[in-house]
């Protein structure tokens, strides 16, 4: 992998954190996720996040190059954790069918913060295209871009393997990965954590639909 670089903003390599290991930075990220996830990136004023944390707007630039840079770090973090979970699950099962079921189910084991972060991810992932000016910002952008691509490829590789195992029908694995991930991502365009609809309910419905897209239907239907 090409992403062992320090992408989170040149903080992790500094010899010693003053006393509280980047808590401010984490506070800012949490506030940004909450605002971006609830109101959207564009509707959120950079200064509001400063207020949430209790510092002046200028102080934010001590931690991030720009509002966009902060967003890129959030996206990068989200994509990184998604990929980690993918790897963990593919490692712990052998049968492709089991893995696929476990992957789909795991997609809904989310804290409120993670739901919000998913909302940010699907709403603003498009901003990972189009170049940036600053150094660290461009670096974070490319890292996010690469992680998106990496996750998609990991899914495609897994699906191709599942096809050769006969767990799902043969199809273009890349397209199928896009279809499954697209169906999953579409949820966060409308789902909000404060709704009456709960995650287990969502999970029950959508894991089955995701498996159906893959061709592993759990029910029998009238054929064509």
């Amino acid at each position: 992998m090409s992403s062992n670089q320090d992408v989170n903003g040149g903080r992790t390599r500094t010899t010693r954190r003053s006393r509280d290991e980047g808590v401010r930075r984490a506070e800012i990220l949490d506030a940004a996720i909450a605002r971006f996830g609830r109101d959207g990136y564009e509707n959120t004023k950079w200064a509001e996040i400063a207020d949430d944390v209790g510092i002046g707007p200028t102080a934010l630039y001590h931690y991030f190059d720009s509002k966009q840079h902060c967003l890129y770090v959030i996206l990068d973090e989200a994509l990184g954790e998604l990929h980690e979970r993918f790897d963990a699950i593919t490692a712990e099962h052998a049968d492709a069918g089991e893995v696929l079921r476990a992957l789909c189910a795991d997609c809904f084991e989310l804290s409120e913060r993670e739901v919000l972060r998913n909302r940010v991810l699907v709403a603003e992932q498009v901003l990972l295209s189009g170049t940036s000016s600053s150094q660290r910002e461009e670096q974070a952008r490319l890292a996010g871009r690469e992680k998106t691509r990496g996750l998609e490829l990991a899914w495609a590789r897994f699906l191709a393997d599942a096809m050769s195992q006969g767990a799902i029908p043969e199809r273009d694995p890349r397209m199928l990965a896009r279809a499954i991930l697209g169906l999953y991502n579409s949820i966060w365009h409308w789902y909000r954590p404060d709704q009456t609809l709960l995650l287990p309910t969502l999970s029950e419905f959508f894991t089955a639909r995701m498996l159906a897209v893959a061709g592993m239907s759990t029910d029998r239907a009238p054929a064509a």
Copy 2:
């Protein structure tokens, strides 16, 4: 329906258009669709659209209240045409299975302009939340919001009907509508009209996946 109001900007009721019935306005919409679809709404400068049409930036405000108002009109137009096509197809077949197949196939009969417009739609539909200041702008926003809801409800009604006909398995129709539309919409997040991938190829793959989500699979797969 509540949308017989004049939402496109108070032009249609004026007694006489100078001589060319709103060609400028149409030019602006075309330029905006092209820019928004290619570069994204936020990355497009309002003044660039004015340049494309060959007028000064301020002249745009003769046709639209704001950049957002222009976007809302585009979204409204897109959603309106989608609903029209939905109605036309549901009217011309009787069997629910046939209708579903026809609906999915029709979703890919698109001109380049329509593809771009779909890109704008899926990328910026979230902006239909969150109130607006101006009068006409808020009106256009609500119209778009209502059309979104209407299209989703129309799909849900149709799917419920298909279930009672036995064409697809029984499930929550509202959720299923969101799943099918979500899978379809996800395409336009990554598909660009200038790619080597052609619409017929897309159609072949994704109509089958959409039908699979509905539970009308065309192939047999290893069951659970």
